[in-house]
């Protein structure tokens, strides 16, 4: 026992800075969530402000648009999760089948790039792109199609939100799967070749089982985002005309709460969202360990 400790001293020391950071930036600020049940008065600080019970939540639930913002949040988030989950897998499998290495690398890099651009920037570009006199409408015009107000129509707007989010992020997801694909033992493919497997059979019986754990892991982690429909993207693109299809919890709370200085409302909604995400993580973790026999912890 004694020798074990003395052997591990330097490991523990190396752990210390990380622990301090976690305590300082993750555990300590958690105390601030009491604000969700208080009426914030700046001079009194977080602890000195009076308690109000559940009143901050009524801000969201009393509004006539509560149903709309909940529905939009869940629908947009589910669409993003669904497509954002499938497309990288398919794309990674397709890339994996390519023989020319430099082409594969180039494509990989290019699709990965948009991940690093901020939504503020991209929103500006998208707005120009899809404007009534923008390039997309000009191209449609060549085919005799009347101009469409993409950013002002509910149907188109939601498609653009989901589509542009997938376009921005699928390259990043692809990289994860490509990494997992390189981890598959090549001798499995050789064995399959000897057994006379076709390409599709190799995909079905070697490749997919090889990356199944990664798929489950990514799928599990993405489920926590059911209430996160992407504030910075929608906030930079939306307008009054498309509130019906795109106003989500975050944007509504921003307009009605934060803009008027009600920080406690923001905290309350943040806490609610975290609570829901926490439950969803537990559920999806249970599903993952049961069906894929995978354990994260």
């Amino acid at each position: 026992m004694r020798s074990k400790w003395s052997e591990q001293i330097h490991f523990n020391l190396m752990l210390l800075p990380g622990m301090i950071l976690v305590l300082l930036f993750t555990i300590w600020p958690m105390g601030g969530i009491v604000l969700a049940f208080k009426h914030f008065i700046p001079t009194k600080g977080i602890w000195g402000s009076p308690w109000t019970g559940w009143e901050n939540y009524s801000y969201l639930f009393d509004t006539p648009v509560a149903l709309r913002v909940f529905k939009n949040t869940v629908v947009i988030a589910l669409m993003k999760i669904g497509f954002g989950f499938l497309i990288p897998i398919v794309f990674a499998l397709m890339l994996n089948e390519l023989r020319i290495q430099w082409f594969k690398r180039t494509v990989q890099t290019i699709v990965y790039l948009p991940h690093f651009l901020s939504w503020v920037l991209l929103a500006g570009i998208l707005r120009d792109f899809f404007a009534v006199d923008g390039i997309v409408n000009q191209m449609l015009g060549m085919f005799g199609i009347n101009e469409i107000m993409f950013l002002g129509e509910n149907f188109w707007f939601r498609s653009i939100i989901v589509g542009s989010d997938i376009w921005k992020e699928f390259g990043f997801g692809t990289i994860i799967y490509l990494a997992a694909l390189t981890g598959i033992n090549p001798s499995l493919y050789e064995a399959a070749d000897i057994d006379g497997a076709t390409r599709m059979q190799k995909l079905r019986y070697v490749t997919l089982p090889g990356i199944a754990t990664t798929i489950v892991l990514v799928g599990t982690l993405s489920l926590q985002n059911v209430l996160n429909a992407g504030f910075d993207q929608i906030f930079n693109l939306y307008n009054t005309l498309v509130y019906d299809s795109s106003d989500i919890i975050d944007t509504y709370v921003y307009r009605a709460g934060i803009e008027e200085g009600h920080y406690e409302v923001g905290t309350a909604i943040g806490l609610l969202k975290s609570g829901v995400s926490f439950i969803l993580i537990i559920i999806s973790y249970g599903l993952a360990s049961r069906f894929a026999n995978y354990r994260i912890f």
Binding site: M1, R2, W5, S6, I9, N12, L16, I20, L23, L24, W28, G31, F40, I41, P42, T43, K44, G45, I46, W47, G48, S58, Y59, D62, T63, P64, V65, A131, V132, E147, M149, L151, G152, N239, T240, L241, Y243, D244, R255, A256, E259, E260, G261, Y263
Partner: protein
């Protein structure tokens, strides 16, 4: 050994936790400091009454401080301010003048652009962080928003009670100005009968004028418009003849993203039907009603919908913001816009910078319904200057405003702004304060100027600022306006003529009908639901204008929804409060 090491880690953790604790305690120390301030305040509270008893310091609204006082403040900035060499927001003629007069000097803790709410958002953060400057102005999209901020500050005990400061230090001219609106501006920022801020006040003359590119109108041989139909006919002619070229003409440039009034809004059409989309006012029976759900709104929307259908306004007008409208103006593509009488000063002069032949002219169109010039008048006290609790000289901003109010019409000041700060951007930049005007100030001023131009009044009898406008107008009308490119070569004369003489002068010829807002506060239901209701309203208006739904059915549905989703409760609360 284990114990030793464990305790070492423990000690390190302890140090760290207490460090955290300190970090958190900053809040507490701030609270303590605030409480300390409170204590010293009450001490000063008695102090302020003391010097009031001393005759020399006692309540001289223009009294110069014996020593230089630096105070911290913040300010909104204009777009692209271009200062003369060596000048800045802190170092300029205006601040030097104030220093000479009062021996005070502003120190800007931060500055943020006025456009896009940046100033307001930053201020909100400062308030939330309990880090406010000594003196500052609160602005907002609406009076309710400003009031809510003031209430929050009072509740948090962050700002000074200015009741006695106002009584003792406000100059007679300023008191008179507030009185012209029955002190309604002051009432807005009282909490429990105590005044917590000095509000701005505008003059009530913001009628909606129809501004037309007169060079285009003349080129196409069209008569001056007298009715709404005439305006529509001119718009159609602009569309057919495309004076901007290459199909880029926008006959009616309009913006209506989140508001129905404001710069470039369709206000001039709503006025035609006595419709006031965002106003709570008293109807004939004395009940407070909401303008946005009245049937005359529907009539106005149908007119706008027709413009939309004929392609006279942009297809994506509902997506455009003020910045984009300014681009359209600057590029010279717009033919007709709705603007206030001062539209030429900002932003219409922008057209001249790129199109030297351009000329904008305002027309006051009498309403279809009553033949008058209608105006829905919100309370004009939309911003307020407050003082941080514990600031030693709570009367300082009052004195500051007194001095501005006393000097902004002097020959020296007008000449300085015109010569040194020629660009309109810069003029507004140098101003540090708010205007507090009597409600009829502009109307009276305009009447004097127009009378002088028409030879009904001796120009020599005019005060300097009116005389200056008169000189410019006279020159423009008598010799300049017949020359080519008259407007762009003589911008100042042109601006004076179009605003004072053409806009205000034509308004004075019509009978006016001013509908005052009956309630400017915020009821409990408003606080929770008004944002959503306003959005509901804009959505319905947009759908009707864009022809997405049958106008009558959609409007009836909107009115029912508005009432059911909290509108009825709001009206009930307002009527109860009004009957008290």
């Amino acid at each position: 050994m284990i114990k030793k090491f464990a305790s070492l880690i423990f000690v390190v953790l302890m140090v760290f936790v207490s460090a955290c604790g300190n970090g958190g305690n900053n809040n507490n120390t701030a609270t303590n400091a605030a409480e300390g301030n409170k204590a010293s305040n009450t001490a000063e509270g008695t102090n302020t009454t003391e010097p009031a008893a001393e005759p020399e310091v006692a309540a001289d609204p223009f009294g110069k401080y014996p020593e230089l006082i630096e105070f911290t403040t913040i300010r909104p900035t204009m777009n692209n301010p271009k200062f003369p060499e060596g000048e800045s927001y802190e170092e300029n003629v205006f601040n030097k003048f104030m220093e000479e007069k009062l021996n005070v000097k502003p120190k800007f803790v931060w500055m943020a652009p006025q456009d896009g709410d940046a100033y307001k958002k930053k201020l909100d953060l400062s308030i939330g962080g309990n880090d406010i400057p000594d003196v500052f102005t609160i602005v907002g999209k609406s009076i309710q928003e400003v009031q809510a901020t003031v209430k929050r500050l009072v509740e948090a005990d962050m700002i000074e009670d200015l009741t006695t400061v106002y009584e003792q230090y406000a100059s007679p001219a300023i008191k008179e100005a507030y009185a012209s609106a029955d002190n309604r501006g002051l009432d807005l920022y009282k909490v429990d009968g105590k005044l917590y801020g000095i509000p701005s006040q505008g003059s009530l003359e913001n009628f909606n004028f129809v501004w037309i590119r007169d060079d285009w109108r003349k080129k196409l041989n069209l008569a001056e418009p007298k009715t709404l139909e005439d305006v529509e006919a001119i718009a159609k002619a602009f569309k057919q003849n495309d004076p901007a070229g290459n199909g880029t003409t926008i006959p009616v440039a309009m913006q209506m993203q989140t508001e129905t009034d404001g710069l470039f809004g369709p206000g001039f059409i709503f006025d035609q039907f006595e419709a006031f989309p965002r106003l709570f006012y008293k109807d004939a029976s004395g009940q407070v009603v909401y303008g946005g759900i009245q049937p005359q709104i529907k009539d106005s929307l149908k007119v706008i919908a027709n413009l939309y259908k004929e392609g006279l306004i942009e297809k994506d007008f509902a997506l455009k913001d003020t910045g984009q409208l300014q681009e359209i103006l600057a590029s010279g593509r717009a033919g007709i816009v709705g603007q206030a009488w001062w539209g030429v000063w900002y932003p219409l002069f922008m057209t001249l910078q790129n199109v030297p032949d351009a000329d904008w002219k305002p027309y006051a169109i009498p309403a279809k319904t009553n033949g008058k010039l209608n105006m829905g008048a919100m309370n004009t006290s939309g911003s307020v200057m407050v003082v941080k609790k514990g600031f030693k000289y709570p009367e300082l901003p009052m004195k500051w405003l007194n001095v501005i109010n006393e000097n902004d019409g002097t020959e020296w000041w007008i000449k300085t702004t015109q010569e040194k700060y020629k660009d309109a951007n810069e003029k507004a930049t140098v101003w540090g304060g708010m205007s507090i005007m009597s409600t009829d100030a502009i109307v009276n001023q305009a009447a004097e100027i127009v009378a002088a131009v028409n030879g009904e009044k001796d120009p020599a009898s005019l005060p300097f600022k009116n005389n200056d406008a008169y000189q410019n107008i006279k020159k423009f009308i008598d010799e300049l306006q017949s020359q080519p490119q008259a407007a762009s070569k003589n911008v100042l004369q042109w601006q004076n003529t179009r605003s004072w003489y053409d806009a205000m002068g034509s308004a004075a010829k019509l009978e006016t009908n001013i509908v005052y807002s009956a309630y400017d506060g915020q009821t409990p239901t408003m606080e929770k639901k008004l944002t959503a209701l306003n959005e509901l309203q804009m959505k319905a208006y947009h759908r009707i204008i864009m022809g997405k739904a049958d106008a009558d059915a959609e409007f009836d549905q909107f009115v029912a929804d508005w009432k059911a989703q909290g509108g009825d409760d709001i009206l009930k609360e307002i009527n109860e409060e009004a009957s008290k």
